[in-house]
């Protein structure tokens, strides 16, 4: 055999072995085991297994304040869900909140202060010590105070109403020219304040008792309020009798809210004011308005002059409005009748979280409708909200008043502190940038991750992530009553982060600005305890307990310590309702000198006249986005099915276009395109959507969809950079054109 064993025999042997191998478990078992091995790498984070503890807390990823039930194993949260019956949250969490416990592991997480280095075209965080960061901030603040350099110190607070907000204002009050900036959120309360001739209180919407809600673009079922509460009101049974809120959604696009509403009214972008005036016209014409109250309280309803409210709306007949808005005269009349018939009715406008607020004129037009309907000052409509007691230790010389960003002079801010995480909305950076002292400003962002506004800052100070910090959650902007709940840390914060309050306390100490009354503790938990004590001492309201879903009246809560314990265990304090104060006199047009002219101009449409007009810029660009998910900072890197893979939600610079419009411009679905406006151009990825109005393009502002470190400069370019900014307040519509990329 040996002499005759040739290469041929060897090959036969090998062939036989190969054939035999296929008849053994070796290949199949090895394949199976390798598959298991490669799906379970040792470095893949796995939730711990063990006994589950249930803890209750509050979500802080947007102002809605939904209650959270956290399942924890080994002292760490492994899953989050809503709390049944929670007065703020309505029993559910949104996709952002459901992934809140993933955020401490965000790939863009910052664990030490950093200076953003932009040389070389990248945004690169370079570590600095906290002392160095604080020193730089203190130096900038001192220069404004001493006059060594011009400019102000400002704080942009994305979640006003907190104790921290008061601390910010107190700190700014100690500066020579401190500016406290809070974005307008919710239901355009500032516009109503501008119309009332006397103070009345901040309005909140008594939605639980509203019968009909007319929404001018507010994403009612997609992030406008707590998702569980809104779904319950609009889609579910709210009182066991089968009554539910009737929703009329006015917006150009067949959004999720529009699709689920009782009536969707598509209108031409930027013509909300015209439609509001048209509805007002019909309410008055058909005598469907609260005439007695309006004639008694409105100082400019009918003055006999050509500049009264009546003379304004008389120009907006249904046919005229139809020509402007694209909404038929019959529909306009039908809506007016419905609002009057199915009362109490309320009208809101708010716009897309990315598109920003409606213009002031639109908001006044909407408030005008509410006043005509008699919805202001009554149950089921808008009622003044009593503010919750604050920390009494933050007192003394007045804190800085609230300012609006658009009122701040350009090139006037030397030090800007950004606390915008969890605000739920987006602000075009250029609106902020123009307020900064050129080449000599310092922007410090307080953020857990280097994303969103933090990427624009000069310094990023790491703060605890949402499940790591003790925090308070006041009532959302549109709430009819004050509420307060606490967010408890579900897991320890990493060593290098600092709570915003602690940072401001240190900064104030460096600048010798007293924040608290003499002898009072500056520890954050003590500040909150003082506020809770003040609430207890007020004797007002009741407390919801997530453990049993019941409410306890304040009178039955023995002590401030007991109230603190209830809130620490996930409770939610709700103020008691009081009889609304009588509505004071008001101006339907607003109190500014040019009110009539500006309202009439807004009625013609918000789209600015640009050189070339509609011929050169035939399309309308509208930024879009969802509350809490406008950048990468709050989108769980592990929720890949919703954002990063499925296409269910749009990512940064993905544009929805009507298929007919797209084809007219030679665009392909999922192809590239370049959108141009008079302010710039942007490359986008096209997605066909028949729910989009022809001639309109919706471009998402985020999230980026990576989940990985995305430091490329170009990733900071979102559609807001090419939206108009002439008024400094409205960027939701822009004239545009598109071409294939």
């Amino acid at each position: 055999m040996g002499k005759n064993f040739t290469r041929r025999h060897l090959l036969k042997f090998v062939g036989g072995s190969a054939a035999g191998l296929l008849l053994t478990p070796v290949p199949w078992k090895t394949l199976d085991d390798v598959a298991i091995w490669t799906q379970n790498w040792s470095w893949i984070p796995v939730p711990p297994k063990g006994e589950i503890q249930t803890r209750f807390t509050t979500c802080t990823l947007c102002p809605a304040g939904c209650g959270v039930r956290a399942r924890c194993v080994g002292g760490r949260p492994v899953s989050l869900s809503g709390v049944a019956g929670h007065p703020a949250g309505g029993g559910s969490l949104c996709p952002v909140g459901l992934g809140g416990h993933h955020l401490p592991y965000h790939p863009l997480r910052l664990l030490e202060p950093a200076r953003m280095d932009r040389s070389g075209g990248d945004d690169r965080p370079v570590p600095v010590t906290l002392d160095a960061a604080l020193a730089a901030m203190a130096r900038a603040a001192e220069e404004t105070r001493s006059g060594a350099s011009g400019g102000s110190v400002a704080v942009l607070d994305g979640r006003p109403g907190r104790t921290l907000s008061t601390i910010y204002r107190k700190f700014l009050g100690g500066m020579k020219s401190g500016l406290y900036l809070a974005p307008e959120m919710g239901i355009g309360a500032n516009a109503l304040q501008d119309m009332l001739l006397e103070p009345w209180g901040r309005p909140g919407l008594d939605l639980e008792n509203t019968a009909t809600l007319l929404s001018f673009g507010a994403p009612i079922l997609d992030g406008w309020g707590a998702p569980g509460r809104m779904a319950d009101l609009v889609l579910g049974r709210r009182d066991g009798k089968g009554r539910r809120l009737k929703l009329i959604q006015v917006e150009p696009r067949r959004s999720r809210t529009a699709a689920a509403a009782d009536q969707w009214v598509p209108l031409n972008p930027g013509t909300e004011a015209a439609l509001a005036f048209g509805l007002a016209h019909q309410l008055v014409q058909l005598r469907l308005f609260d005439e007695k109250s309006v004639r008694k309280r409105a100082v400019d309803f009918e003055t006999g002059e050509g500049s009264s409210y009546l003379s304004l709306i008389s120009r907006f007949t249904p046919d005229t409005v139809s020509g402007i808005t694209g909404v038929s005269a019959e529909t306009i009349t039908g809506i007016a009748r419905e609002l009057a018939r199915n009362s109490p009715a309320a009208v809101v406008g708010g716009g897309d979280p990315a598109g920003g607020p409606l213009g002031e004129e639109e908001e006044r037009a909407i408030w005008g409708l509410n006043l005509l309907l008699g919805s202001v000052g009554k149950a089921g409509g808008f009622v003044p909200r009593r503010e919750a007691p604050g920390d009494p230790a933050i007192s003394g010389d007045g804190p800085a008043a609230v300012s609006r960003l658009e009122e701040v002079p350009d090139r006037s801010i030397r030090l800007l502190i950004l606390d915008t995480a969890g605000s739920g909305g987006a602000l075009p950076w250029k609106l902020i940038d123009r307020k900064l002292v050129p080449q000599n400003s310092l922007v410090a962002a307080l953020a857990p991750v280097v994303a969103g506004d933090a990427r624009r800052a000069d310094l990023v100070i790491p703060v605890p992530s949402c499940t790591e910090a003790l925090d308070e959650v006041p009532a959302p902007a549109a709430s009819p009553v004050s509420t307060l709940s606490l967010a408890q840390p579900l897991q320890p914060a990493p060593a290098g982060v600092i709570a915003p309050a602690a940072l401001i306390v240190r900064l104030a100490a460096a600048l010798s600005v007293p924040l608290f009354s003499s002898g009072e503790s500056a520890v954050w938990a003590d500040c909150l305890k003082r506020r809770v004590e003040a609430i207890h001492n007020s004797g007002r309201g009741s407390v919801f307990s997530p453990q049993d879903g019941k409410f306890a009246e304040m009178a039955a809560i023995e002590s401030p310590e007991s109230l603190w314990k209830l809130l620490s265990e996930g409770g939610c304090w709700i103020d008691s309702r009081e009889v609304p104060a009588p509505l004071p006199h008001y101006s339907l047009l607003g109190r500014k000198n040019d009110a009539y002219a500006s309202m009439a101009s807004a009625g013609a449409g918000r789209l600015a006249a640009v050189p070339g007009g509609a011929q050169a810029w035939p399309l309308v660009l509208m930024p879009s986005g969802l509350c809490g998910a406008l950048d990468d900072s709050q989108v769980s890197p592990l929720m890949t099915k919703l954002y990063q893979e499925s296409g269910l939600r749009r990512l940064l610079n993905q544009a929805d276009i009507n298929p007919a419009t797209a084809r007219a411009y030679g665009l392909a679905d999922r192809g590239g395109a370049v959108i141009e406006t008079p302010s710039g151009s942007l490359r986008v990825e096209v997605r066909f959507d028949p729910g989009v109005m022809p001639g309109v393009i919706h471009v998402a502002v985020g999230p980026g969809g990576g989940g990985k470190s995305r430091n490329r400069l170009r990733d900071r370019l979102n559609v807001l950079t090419i939206c108009p900014d002439d008024s400094g307040r409205v960027w939701r519509v822009a004239r545009a054109r598109v071409r294939e990329a």
Binding site: L10, S17, T24, Q39
Partner: protein, 195 residues
């Protein structure tokens, strides 16, 4: 083909068959002894009379308690009850210093598979032995055979390297679960078990 060629082919065939069926299983798995021996029969027998759920229960929140912690053994074994060397190890090395016993779990599924005991035990009323065999009557713990590639127990694939099943509890692969689901009319979906 010449005679020698046939022999060569056959030899190769036989060699690979032998390697694949005899040597491969031995090489694929590594035996690891449990930290100590434990007699289920002793604890479930007449003398002690425990049932499965005395130590392995579904909690009210639906989670499964799994292998009991040493604090569950402590009340009876704070001191040695008998003379067994394994009990001595239990008392001296684990109960007294309150150190968890690093049991090797035969039924541990890969991390990418989600299995809740609650629906299977409480809702479907499946007996423990259906999936775990007659564990309750065992007098000792067999060595844990760990797969050198995947790192999981041989019990998941099954004792038989071919994957053929002789008993319902012989294996805990996806096909085993699917088969039982099909028998009971349960509709499967990917996300049901792979979250």
């Amino acid at each position: 083909m010449s005679h020698a060629s046939k022999i060569s082919f056959a030899a190769g065939l036989a060699a690979s068959l032998a390697l694949g069926w005899l040597a491969f299983p031995r090489a694929l798995y590594r035996k690891v002894d449990q930290p100590l021996q434990f007699s289920h029969l002793l604890h479930t027998g007449e003398k002690v009379g425990l049932t499965c759920d005395a130590c392995h229960s579904v909690r009210p929140d639906g989670s499964f308690s799994g292998i009991p912690k040493v604090e569950q053994c402590a009340p009876c074994h704070a001191q040695a009850q008998g003379s067994s060397p394994d009990e001595k190890i239990l008392v001296e090395q684990y109960v007294t210093p309150n150190r968890e016993i690093p049991w090797l779990v035969y039924a541990r599924q890969p991390e990418n598979a989600y299995f809740p005991h609650g629906p299977h035990v409480n809702l479907a009323k499946i007996e423990c032995g259906r999936c775990h065999g007659m564990h309750g009557s065992s007098t000792g713990l067999r060595p844990f055979q760990v797969n050198r590639i995947s790192g999981y127990s041989r019990d998941v694939w099954g004792e038989n390297i071919s994957g053929l099943r002789s008993k319902p509890w012989d294996g805990m692969k996806m096909s085993d679960c699917s088969r039982c689901h099909a028998e009971r009319g349960v509709k499967d979906s990917c996300l049901m078990c792979h979250k």
